[in-house]
């Protein structure tokens, strides 16, 4: 469990680290995250030289390669502004594992300093921006899948649902075993496809059984997995990143 974090006052500027999955597959989610932050009167800096946080190599055990890639990101955030990451998984990597990855290296202090400025998007909107959302969307039943990294590594089980609860037209339904992993796990889905498939099968069934018409998640890995499963079965039940959902309904 992440220790209680003392949140700062709302800053004038923030950095956004968009993540590689968003860059390649869900760029709109990244732009919507930027729009949400800008609407709060915050100037968003998007360092052009960002690529990937290094997590895929890190969890696969290739720590030298992960460190090299992480090191390339460290220099991108020179000013003391918060760094907003629209992903619990990449956020957890940068907040929790950067200090581990750079322990005993010349850049350890820098890694710790960067880690201390990492915020997951929904966390930042709730705890720092104290955002107030005005819903313009239609009435619908929505299930939220909070990623395991957001839930357990970053301790953010509540922030996504808290934002959805502000949307008057949204009825948040809770699927059975909501805290259980959807089965993505990065390379896990590739190395153990059958086990992963059994997990995503149960997750999609639970979301359907809860009566959801739509699902949202704060991590694109889960979105690719759960959404990909629904699509494969030609279900109308679709999903999107919470940033896009919030922007779509409130803009």
């Amino acid at each position: 469990m992440t220790p209680v974090k003392l949140y700062p006052a709302k800053p004038d500027k923030v950095y956004v680290f968009g993540t590689c999955l968003i860059d390649l597959f869900y760029p709109e989610a990244g732009l919507d995250a930027i729009r949400l932050l800008e609407r709060e009167g915050i100037e968003v800096i998007f360092p052009d030289d960002q690529t990937c946080c290094g997590q895929p190599a890190y969890t696969s055990g290739y720590h030298d390669e992960a460190r090299a890639v992480a090191e390339a990101q460290l220099s991108l955030f020179p000013e003391p502004w918060p760094i907003i990451v629209p992903s619990g998984s990449c956020g957890g990597m940068m907040r929790t594992h950067y200090p581990q990855l750079f322990a005993g290296t010349p850049r350890e202090a820098e890694a710790r300093e960067v880690a201390s400025r990492i915020y997951e998007l929904t966390e930042f909107l709730v705890h720092v921006c104290h955002v107030r959302l005005e819903d313009k969307g239609r009435t619908e039943k929505v299930a939220m899948h909070t990623s395991c990294s957001a839930r357990r590594e970053m301790g953010l089980a509540e922030t996504g649902p808290a934002l959805l609860a502000q949307l008057g037209g949204v009825e948040l339904v809770e699927q059975a075993r909501a805290a259980e992993c959807c089965g993505f796990g990065g390379t896990f889905a590739v190395r153990h496809p059958e086990v992963s498939a059994a997990m995503v099968e149960d997750k999609t069934l639970a979301i359907e059984a809860a009566g959801a018409e739509h699902f949202v998640t704060s991590d694109c890995g889960c979105l690719m997995n759960i959404g990909g499963r629904f699509e494969h079965q030609k279900k109308s039940l679709g999903g999107e990143h919470i940033a896009s959902y919030l922007w779509r309904r409130t803009s």
Binding site: G18, F46, C52, G61, C148, R152, H192
Partner: protein
């Protein structure tokens, strides 16, 4: 007796078979759901985080002083009349126990539940020497009748449902086919009672070995542990060297964590504290008590500051109860004595990374195990560490380090590293990828057997942000 064979090498095949067996899946899902609920409910009156912190610190303190505490345990046990034996590996431990049995001319051994005895394949060893070993824990008894190995460290027969148990008992012991659990329990009790009375030796495990007093604590629910350790004339306790704790006062918090995490119980039905053989004038208890302390790879784990955390484990099984992988594939799939998350971080040390190469990767790193671990073992971090050992250059001290390293994969990660450290090339390639996305395959390996292929975006976030900035500069919104 032939035991049903599962091996860690065959993890994929075994997982495939378990996933295709609706009975296995239903049995585990139901059982694990029940155990998770019981654990959650029983901790409501506790400050769980404070208790876990205390438990972790007790275990860390014991491990920090492990060599000294083991010597202190030995001295105090000997003073109490418990003879202490050291075994470097499972084979040595089996030999010690066999020789102790042979010295008494023992022909039959009754066993309390002990995962260490499973780890060292004690039953097979004794049987080969003509000594019959009978399990007396009800779950272990059923598993043994069915010629299987335990599928869970606390509930060995959790993979079986009532009908299957009825069938096994009918088949092997001649009881009536029934769904009446009380009838079956009573029948097993009667069958076992005979054997307790006639056994020459009782073999048990140990939950906590207290260094300052030389006391062996045994946690159980069925009374079979007490029978095993008091009725036969000789009791042999066998345990891993990491089970030692410093003080008697360390036991209550660990016991509270153990029973609540394992089965959701406030206390177990029995809690045995064994401190000596029968003393002059006493009416019962064994004439001889032995303690066999087994290393079997543990001191190697102990050498590494990070991997050392593996040895904190108090064997509650909560990590498997909460594991989404274990819940789906069941305990046998792992093919190892200890299944589930703890098995994945412990067994590579015992069997080597070559035999267990599919285990550390069989996790989505969801963190459910680490979240519930009563002594806060960072299981996901240790899984990552073992993955690193497996693909590293073989310099680590985990047996089999470097076994999964192959040129193709290294080259792939090196290319990824190059691209992700050359931002202009990264942006260029995402732009090209977006343009060529129509050529992207609609089938990508096993992913698309169950899911649609992820679709590359036409425009990368980098490009969208650029356009967004331009629009803002021009005074409009994008």
């Amino acid at each position: 007796m032939s035991v049903q064979q599962f091996t860690p090498q065959a993890f994929h095949r075994q997982a495939h078979e378990a996933l295709g067996d609706p009975q296995i899946r239903a049995n585990f899902r139901r059982a694990m759901d029940g155990l998770m609920t019981k654990r959650r409910d029983v901790f409501t009156d506790w400050d769980l985080e404070t208790l876990r912190e205390l438990g972790a610190n007790i275990r860390l303190r014991a491990l920090a002083k492990l060599p000294d505490l083991l010597e202190q345990l030995e001295t105090n046990c000997q003073t109490n009349g418990i003879r202490v034996h050291w075994a470097e590996d499972g084979e040595a431990a089996c030999r010690i126990i066999r020789e102790l049995c042979e010295a008494r001319g023992a022909k039959s051994v009754i066993k309390g539940k002990s995962m260490v005895s499973e780890e060292m394949h004690l039953n097979a060893h004794l049987e080969a020497a003509g000594i019959e070993a009978l399990e007396s824990d009800l779950g272990e008894y059923l598993v043994q009748l069915n010629e299987q190995t335990p599928s869970h460290i606390i509930m060995p027969a959790i993979h079986l449902n009532t009908d299957e148990i009825s069938e096994i008992m009918h088949d092997k012991t001649g009881t009536e086919r029934t769904r009446d659990v009380d009838y079956m329990t009573a029948a097993a009790r009667a069958q076992l009672r005979e054997r307790f009375m006639s056994a020459d030796v009782g073999v048990s495990g140990v939950n906590f070995a207290v260094a300052e007093t030389g006391t062996l604590c045994l946690v159980e629910n069925e009374g079979n542990g007490r029978m095993t350790t008091t009725v036969p004339p000789m009791h042999i306790a066998v345990t891993g060297i990491e089970k030692v704790v410093e003080h008697l006062r360390d036991v209550p918090p660990l016991y509270a964590l153990l029973t609540r995490s394992a089965t959701g119980q406030h206390v177990t039905t029995y809690f045995n504290m064994i401190s000596s053989p029968r003393k002059p004038g006493e009416h019962d208890g064994p004439e001889e008590v032995h303690l066999v302390l087994v290393d079997n790879g543990r001191s190697n784990i102990y050498q590494d500051d990070e991997l050392l955390d593996t040895l904190r484990c108090i064997r509650c099984g909560a990590c498997m109860n909460h594991c989404p992988v274990y819940t789906r594939v069941g305990g046998h799939t792992y093919g190892t004595t200890y299944p589930g998350p703890i098995g994945k971080i412990l067994m590579p040390h015992m069997l080597g990374l070559e035999a267990t190469k599919d285990l550390p990767s069989a996790s989505s790193l969801c963190g459910a195990c680490g979240e519930v671990c009563p002594v806060k073992i960072p299981i996901p971090d240790l899984l990552v560490r073992l993955r690193k050992e497996a693909v590293g250059e073989g310099r680590g001290n985990v047996p089999g380090a470097g076994v999964k390293r192959n040129r193709k994969e290294v080259a792939a990660w090196k290319s990824w590293q190059w691209l992700a450290t050359h931002p202009a090339a990264w942006r260029g390639s995402t732009a090209v990828a977006g343009k060529l996305r129509g050529l992207a395959p609609s089938r990508v390996g096993p992913w698309t057997e169950y899911r649609s292929a992820p679709k590359l975006a036409k425009t990368s976030l980098h490009a969208l942000v650029k356009a967004h900035r331009r629009a803002k500069d021009e005074g409009g919104e994008s």
